[in-house]
């Protein structure tokens, strides 16, 4: 007997998400499909949610060598979508250097829509080969907050950037409109090769200068303006390279007893944390995008730092709801 149903268009590792805006400004999913090893979960919606939340998961908690994931996301006009994970995205060992584990994300953010992608870090295990390609196409008035970070692996087991290769590319494009092709706003491309050239410095662990995590935060669009301005102003307020404290110990004590505002005390604590965790960061404006790069000696240090920055400024929770930041809390 011939099946009355059309053949399935679903393929392994492929998924698709569409977020719509319902009346009363509630964002909701109108489409959610996925196939093993990709898994998507969305909690049941509530009336007062600021964005629709989706968990991006994989069966077994990680990607096995050679897995190919392709996720298409469409955020319809004025809808808001938040994507999070439930723990590190683990990338398991590939049996050979030619077997590449891939994740692709193709996102279209339409007029006035917004996407907040704040996942846990990718954790590539020893011997893994990973390639990630994320492309975001932004229509007029669209906003995006995108975090992409990678850790040194299972440091508790002594791994220290021991994977074969990790590469991640993030591209932001403007949507094509009325015969005009879309234009590239930003291309952030990182290649980390575990074993390069010759000599003592060939191993990645030497090149990473004791960092255990390295990440990039990209912001663009009207909803992100205040957060971007916040990062830029905090960055310009960082102590300059080689700056010294010329105050005597007595003056330092006097200054520390002075009444300071809550924000100043937050900043002082954060700077101390940055120093203790060896956290280095920079912020730059590139063609309308704000790009924040950071690295830290510990994964937890980086998580606390970025969480503290987002919480202090507050606009992510305001626009997308508290859940959107659950991976950086």
């Amino acid at each position: 007997m011939i099946s009355p149903f059309p053949p399935s268009s679903s393929r392994p590792g492929n998924g698709s998400l569409t977020a719509h805006l319902l009346p009363h400004s509630i964002s909701a999913l109108s489409k959610i499909t996925f196939q093993y090893p990709l898994k998507l979960i969305s909690p049941s919606p509530s009336a007062n949610q600021k964005s629709v939340l989706v968990f991006l998961l994989t069966y077994g908690g990680g990607l096995v060598g050679g897995d190919q994931v392709l996720l298409n996301i469409d955020v319809k006009p004025k809808a808001r979508l938040s994507i999070v994970t439930q723990g590190h995205t683990k990338v398991f060992k590939s049996t050979s250097r030619d077997i590449v584990t891939r994740q692709r994300l193709d996102v279209s953010i339409e007029m006035g829509a917004a996407l907040c992608l704040l996942p846990d870090p990718v954790q590539p295990f020893e011997g893994s080969v990973y390639e990630q390609l994320q492309k975001f196409t932004l229509a007029g008035g669209a906003s995006i907050c995108l975090l992409d970070w990678v850790s040194a692996g299972r440091t508790a087991r002594g791994e220290n950037w021991d994977f074969h290769a990790w590469s991640g590319r993030n591209e932001l494009w403007t949507a094509s409109a009325k015969g005009e092709a879309g234009r590239m706003l930003l291309r952030d491309n990182i290649f980390l090769d575990g074993n390069l050239g010759s000599g003592k410095e060939r191993l990645l662990k030497h090149r990473m200068q004791n960092m255990s995590i390295y990440g990039t935060l990209i912001l663009n669009g009207p909803l992100m303006e205040s957060l971007a301005a916040f990062f830029m102003s905090e960055f310009s307020g960082l102590p300059r390279i080689g700056a010294r404290d010329f105050r005597s110990q007595a003056n330092v004590d006097i200054d520390s007893e002075m009444k300071i505002s809550r924000q100043e005390s937050w900043r002082r604590d954060r700077l101390q944390l940055e120093k203790d965790d060896g956290l280095l960061w920079s912020a730059a404006k590139v063609r309308g995008c704000t790009v924040i790069k950071f690295g830290s000696r510990t994964v937890e240090g980086a998580r606390v730092w970025i969480g503290s920055m987002l919480k202090e400024e507050g606009s992510i929770s305001e626009h997308f709801g508290e859940e959107a930041t659950m991976c950086v809390r």
Binding site: M184, L186, L196, R207, G242, S282, A284, V286, R287
Partner: protein
């Protein structure tokens, strides 16, 4: 019908081959009668790559582009060396940094140089893509400043000295168009996306193609200029320099290993001029 079409097509290809062979023979004959070959044969082989394929004018431009006195302002940017030294004390090693920086430059900027050398007509597109790919603020500023300096050198001196050839004239026209686009972009500065930025990499590739440099030479000269810029940045960052004139270059034998013999003393006059902020 089909057979006929195939027949005429293969006939056309055979004609083309015959034509090309004849042109090759003619070109070889001309080469045998040029005086430069006699000169090349009598001089000992040089260590420069592809020496035998160099035309006299190309050699001339090769020397100009590899000259450390080429006024591109590359001294203004330390390519992250200053930051590296500040964050890695006391374990800084200039040789290690040089390796990192070269490997990074070769995989981030060099491909744009080579792409522009291969397809000079894509100059504007490559420039735009590179502009979207350089994240570091200081690096962007330096790349654009050097690219504009190179473009003005091209306009003021190189362009008049390049021998005309049909395959290059198209590239020259593209370069002129690009310069015009750049000027218009500057006068109508609006929005966040510039029409043209003039980054060093693609312009270097396109100009190197026009003046007749081979691809390998172009890559070599481009990377060499990066090494030279890093070395001069290292000299300026050395403790002897920071301490002002009169510092001893070899004062700190166990410290950072970037002090070349006597370099600090030679350059101690110019202090920290042009250092990035």
């Amino acid at each position: 019908m089909n057979n006929e079409a195939d027949c005429s097509q293969s006939q056309a290809i055979e004609n083309e081959i015959a034509d090309l062979e004849q042109r090759l023979r003619a070109a070889k004959a001309r080469l045998r009668h040029t005086p430069s070959e006699a000169v090349a044969a009598s001089t000992p082989p040089s260590k420069l790559p592809h020496h035998d394929t160099l035309q006299p004018t190309a050699t001339h431009f090769l020397f100009l582009l590899s000259d450390s006195a080429l006024p591109l302002g590359s001294f203004a940017f330390s390519s992250g060396l200053e930051s590296y030294l500040a964050h890695s004390r006391p374990n800084s090693s200039f040789p290690a940094f040089l390796t990192y920086s070269l490997s990074s430059y070769a995989s981030t900027t060099l491909p744009f140089v080579l792409a522009a050398h291969r397809n000079p007509e894509k100059l504007a597109e490559l420039d735009d893509t590179l502009d979207a790919s350089i994240i570091c603020t200081v690096g962007r500023r330096a790349s654009v400043a050097q690219g504009r300096a190179l473009l003005s050198i091209w306009e003021r001196s190189f362009s008049g000295a390049v021998p005309g050839s049909p395959e290059r004239s198209e590239a020259i026209r593209q370069l002129k168009e690009f310069a015009l686009l750049l000027r218009n972009a500057a006068s109508t500065a609006s929005g966040e996306l510039p029409a043209a930025s003039a980054h060093l990499g693609p312009l270097f590739g396109a100009i190197a193609f026009i003046v007749g440099l081979e691809r390998q030479e172009t890559a070599y000269v481009f990377m060499l200029s990066h090494v030279k810029a890093l070395l001069s940045a290292a000299v300026r960052a050395s403790p002897g320099e920071r301490g002002g004139a009169g510092g001893h270059p070899g004062r700190d034998p166990e410290g950072v290993g970037y002090e070349g013999g006597g370099c600090g003393a030679e350059c101690s006059g110019d202090g920290l001029v042009g250092w990035e902020t």
